[in-house]
Symmetry: C2
Amino acid sequence: VSSRTSDTGLEMDAAQETSSRGVRERRFNLDRAGRVIPGLVWTPEDAPAPLPLVLIGHGASGSKREPYVVAVARRFVRHHGFAAVAIDGPIHGDRRADGGASPDLAFLEFGQLWRDDPTMTDQMVEDWRAVLDAVRDLGDVGAGPLGWWGLSMGTIIGLPVVAAEPRIQAAVLGLMGIVGPTKKRIEADARGLGCPVLLLQQWDDELFARQSTLDLFDAIGSKEKQLHANPGRHTDVPPDEFEATTAFLARHLRP
Amino acid sequence: VSSRTSDTGLEMDAAQETSSRGVRERRFNLDRAGRVIPGLVWTPEDAPAPLPLVLIGHGASGSKREPYVVAVARRFVRHHGFAAVAIDGPIHGDRRADGGASPDLAFLEFGQLWRDDPTMTDQMVEDWRAVLDAVRDLGDVGAGPLGWWGLSMGTIIGLPVVAAEPRIQAAVLGLMGIVGPTKKRIEADARGLGCPVLLLQQWDDELFARQSTLDLFDAIGSKEKQLHANPGRHTDVPPDEFEATTAFLARHLRP
């Protein structure tokens, strides 16, 4: 495998670099003291840095290559000229020995990890901060406005990331509530938020009780926050909302 | 006062006709068996009928000339080439002897009327249907796609209008809940809805308890429905939401 390592430790896999319809996609690994973080970064083929950058957290069972993750990332690049980056979640994608070939198993194991390992969230926050620093050091990305996009596990992990990272200026969160083993922390993180937040809710979500998501919206401390609720189960988010979420971040991150 | 009456009974006040920045505004009265309905109709200065038409219901204390009503109407005309029509609510605007000069009194009286007069809603539904027929008969409007836009009293009256009128293809409602004297009817009307609905909620609404609006959203029978909640009191709807509501109707009514 042909690869090169940037000054900031991003090891780019040149063999996996692709470019299509104006979007350049690069596969990287970031070595954080022996913990390897696999990721993808999407950039416009031709746009001057610094670019607004959106951090995308995927949902449990998926990966950084999840079709909707790639679609959202490409949308930010093509429609708005932003950069986007996604990494594999804990025990997901290329962090697994099976390379993400067992989505149901990853889902199950994530549930156990969330319940049993209180360090999981902090590890992921540190992974994201390391990735953020490294990606912003890329010459064609730079230190532009910063946003978060993540639903479900992308909020379980994203809420703490946004709470911990003052550089994030706007966030799309959702399909999650104040539930589970880290309930108190979720509530505290929510109260600590200050940036504009769009929170998505599936009205008939079978994984997160309706009230738990309303409680999360209520707890969010940001002066500017929006709840968008739609009928249907956890994964039934309507296509319109994907557009609404990208438009929301585009509005807040436009330089 | 110079006036002319159309075949369908719309008495247009030519002296009050204005045109600015591509928007023609006409003041009309419609006589429905002695009950005079005062209204305004906005159309593009130059667009071929049939046009999509949005019926706009104003909030209690206001009138068909309420600044946000005019702004929403003009937005539909200028940005989307639609027509729009607003009429004065019960005991509001030009239906009052004071011509709408006492908004607080109108608000108070509407509260009493809503509580005490079970015929109020049906009267307003009939007023709206008569106006709808007459406006669609205007040569420069015609029978195009049809939508409803109304918050607060514009939903108290609008929900029954949308429930009764199968020609309405999409509706913006909000700032209301399942409360008050007509609770059962509100719920029944909501369950009977079939068209796409965008429901706005102010999270800290001092007039409608949070749960009552969530109950209304829950009851809406439409397969396609969206709740948008924002922090703040009853009248603190953020400007973004006005854009979202017009975009919502534009998407559903575009011919």
